[in-house]
């Protein structure tokens, strides 16, 4: 069965989201790499281990969010550039966006828990 083909106007909406998702993916991924670099630099300079752990914990989810948004952006741009698989590619992109949002939600929850635990004196950073 032939799939639904998006119109030029619809492709414009999908393409815009694709470009923005890719840009956000790059920003997140670069942020993750910088955190990883900071952790490695901290290890080399003998920094406090809790700070190194904090940078490592920040780097992995940032990289995951970045890669998910990059994947979503690539699929969305694919919707615009290809013919015949528009709905399938859009669903792939939405799946990647769902994963990215799940990770963002999880990071925030962990961050809130860490802040609450820090405030309650369960542990101390630095």
């Amino acid at each position: 069965m032939a799939e639904y083909e998006f119109t030029a106007r619809e492709n414009e909406v999908v393409g815009r989201l694709g470009r923005r998702a890719k840009l956000w993916g790059w920003i997140s991924a670069i942020g993750g790499v910088l955190c990883l670099f900071a952790a490695l630099l901290g290890m080399r300079l003998g920094a406090d281990s809790s700070r190194i752990l904090l940078f490592l914990l920040a780097a992995l989810p940032q990289l995951s969010v970045g890669l998910s948004f990059l994947g979503a952006g690539r699929s969305l741009v694919g919707v615009v550039e290809t013919r015949g698989n528009d709905v399938t590619l859009l669903m792939d992109a939405l799946g990647n966006l769902t994963v990215a949002m799940k990770i963002q939600i999880a990071i925030t929850l962990v961050f809130v828990l860490l802040v609450v635990a820090n405030a309650a004196g369960v542990y101390s950073i630095g």
């Binding site: 639904y4 999908v14 923005r20 920003i27 709905v87 859009l90 966006l97 949002m101």
Partner: protein
């Protein structure tokens, strides 16, 4: 204007596709609530700082970041509602999905601006602390 109400053709999504749309809609709504809650908390702290009830000048950064977070959150909430509408309604699926994508696009743009502003502030802060 991003409204795409002029769409004439339509397509009904399958059950499997509706499940994907439901998932992205639910997560967009959850993330929207998180952003709005964080935004409102920042605005509250910012207002306390602005009125002198909290010490320091951090409120000058906290207040605008709260407003920006709230704007992103509202767009995520609206996008989630649009995706859910595509699942629950018959006959306007593509229009609802396009409206959802438009709001998601705006929300991501706001996140990008907030991310870039944060990076700029971190770099500026590092330079200032390095200078002392």
């Amino acid at each position: 204007m991003d409204d795409i109400a002029g769409t004439t053709r339509d397509h009904e999504f399958t059950e499997e596709q509706n499940a994907d749309l439901r998932a992205v809609g639910s997560h967009a709504i959850t993330w929207g609530f998180v952003c709005v809650s964080a935004g409102v908390a920042c605005i509250g702290l910012g207002l306390l700082g602005a009125t002198g009830k909290l010490h320091g000048t951090a409120w000058r950064l906290v207040l605008p970041s709260g407003v920006i977070n709230s704007i992103a959150g509202v767009n995520f909430l609206i996008a989630g509602r649009d995706f859910r509408a595509a699942v629950h309604t018959q006959g306007c699926d593509v229009r609802h999905v396009m409206e959802g994508l438009t709001h998601l696009s705006r929300a991501i743009l706001v996140q990008i601006l907030l991310g870039l502003a944060t990076i700029a502030l971190v770099v500026l802060g590092a330079q200032l602390s390095g200078g002392h």
